[in-house]
């Protein structure tokens, strides 16, 4: 429950609850094991079977903005969608756009900056096409010495190794500092 319900919606919710789900009528004593207050309304959708219970989260979610996607959409890749896919550019050789689903600036910026370090990369950039569509598009042009896919994979491998190095360095420092006590 993250926001205040505007008054008309509360009345509407109460009315609908009393009509469709009589047990939740405010005057009735709440039965244990049946009354649920979800902190996370969207999870009801895939967890519960049964029509009545699935109505309740929809009513609760009316209090949120009508068109806003659910929060878990930011990081859960739906069934059937690939996490990474790419399209070669039709007009320019050695150029491709990688579409990464359910990622944001955290990955986009770090991959882009690493691609800039590659001598064979002529162009590297990323964008979020729309703030409410949770994906990024990374565009890479390379010389003929390399290919965008190779440059992309190389960048990710280098970042992985850098993080390994950082982790080892940090752990060593923590051991050193704690060892001093």
């Amino acid at each position: 429950m993250r926001s205040q319900t505007p008054p008309n919606t509360t009345c509407l919710i109460r009315f609908l609850l009393t009509v469709f789900y009589p047990r939740l009528h405010p005057q009735r004593q709440l039965l244990p094991d049946r009354e649920l207050h979800r902190d996370h309304p969207s999870e009801n959708r895939d967890r519960f079977s049964g029509l009545l219970l699935s109505c309740v989260p929809n009513l609760f979610s009316m209090r949120r903005v009508m068109n806003a996607p659910d929060r878990y959409e930011r990081f859960v890749v739906p069934e059937g969608t690939k996490k990474v896919s790419y399209e070669r550019d039709t007009k320019i050789i050695n150029a491709a756009s990688f579409t990464i689903e359910r990622e944001d600036h955290t990955i986009g910026n770090i991959v882009r900056m690493q691609l800039h370090r590659d001598g064979n990369v002529l162009f590297a950039g990323y964008k979020l096409p729309h703030p409410l569509q949770y994906k990024i598009i990374v565009r890479v042009h390379t010389t003929s010495q390399s290919s965008p896919m190779q440059a992309y994979n190389q960048a990710i491998n280098d970042l992985d190794k850098e993080l390994d190095h950082l982790k080892a360095a940090f752990e060593a420092e923590v051991a050193r500092v704690s060892g001093e006590y």
Binding site: M1, R38, V84, T106, E173, V174
Partner: protein, 320 residues
Amino acid sequence: MEGASYQRFPKVKIRELKDDYAKFELRETDASMANALRRVMIAEVPTIAIDLVEIEVNSSVLNDEFIAHRLGLIPLTSERAMSMRFSRDCDACDGDGQCEFCSVEFHLRAKCINDQTLDVTSKDLYSSDHTVVPVDFSDTGSGFENNEDQRGITIVKLRKGQELRLRAIARKGIGKDHAKWSPAATVTFMYEPEIHINEEMMETLSLEEKTSVVESSPTKVFGINPHTQQVEVVDREAYTYDDEVLKKVEAMGKPGLVEIYAKEDSFIFTVESTGAVKASQLVLNAIEVLKQKLDAVRLSEDTVEADDQFGELGAHMRGG
């Protein structure tokens, strides 16, 4: 052409390390890496927090969802979180996301019997797993403030006759989903400043002018050495990148007296944790999560082949 690596080799130096606070320097890496670490620490390091509340009895002054909201925000010690499964991914449950592998159960029973107001706090939440408990905020050192801090986070206050009984399920989640799962109180990083004072130009200034330069900075960056009467840098990191000193120096008609640069690859991180995860562990978990994200984003062989075929076919069809 494989083989050429453009890897960086970052260096870390820890300045201060406490249970919930860490200050360290990160060198020889890019701002994008520093920012990625910051973003991951705030939004993507998993923690455990109460996510489902079943209320049996509530005769307090706060309504059910109010109390459920407050319970969700209580930080729980989440050492287990990195190895736990998300309840949406758990196949051991019978579908309701409440099995022992993916969730922790809590219960709370409180009833006010006497005339004094009963303070229901996070210490009254009893866990089924002793490794996942509400964070204890009491200061181990101070005996003076004993009663104040040791009571835990107030959930609700009850009058005589009021009762609260509930069962809560805590699950793993990330800050991106809801802020209750964020393990970081604040994470900040700043560029390390490099300050140069032009000594020759400084010689031409009178003591009043030197004092006015020193005092133009809102934070105490410069000071006047009592012995040598020279302006020197007292605290380099107090500089907040306001350009007040530079503006003052220009107004005085002596540009170039002081030059301040931000070192592009040197960062000073300040990490404060809520107590759910230790500060040092938070940084390590963030690095781990970032590695996992990069692994997920790698091009796999089937991605390359599938689209390669399309690419070839498409190019062929287009007459390319």
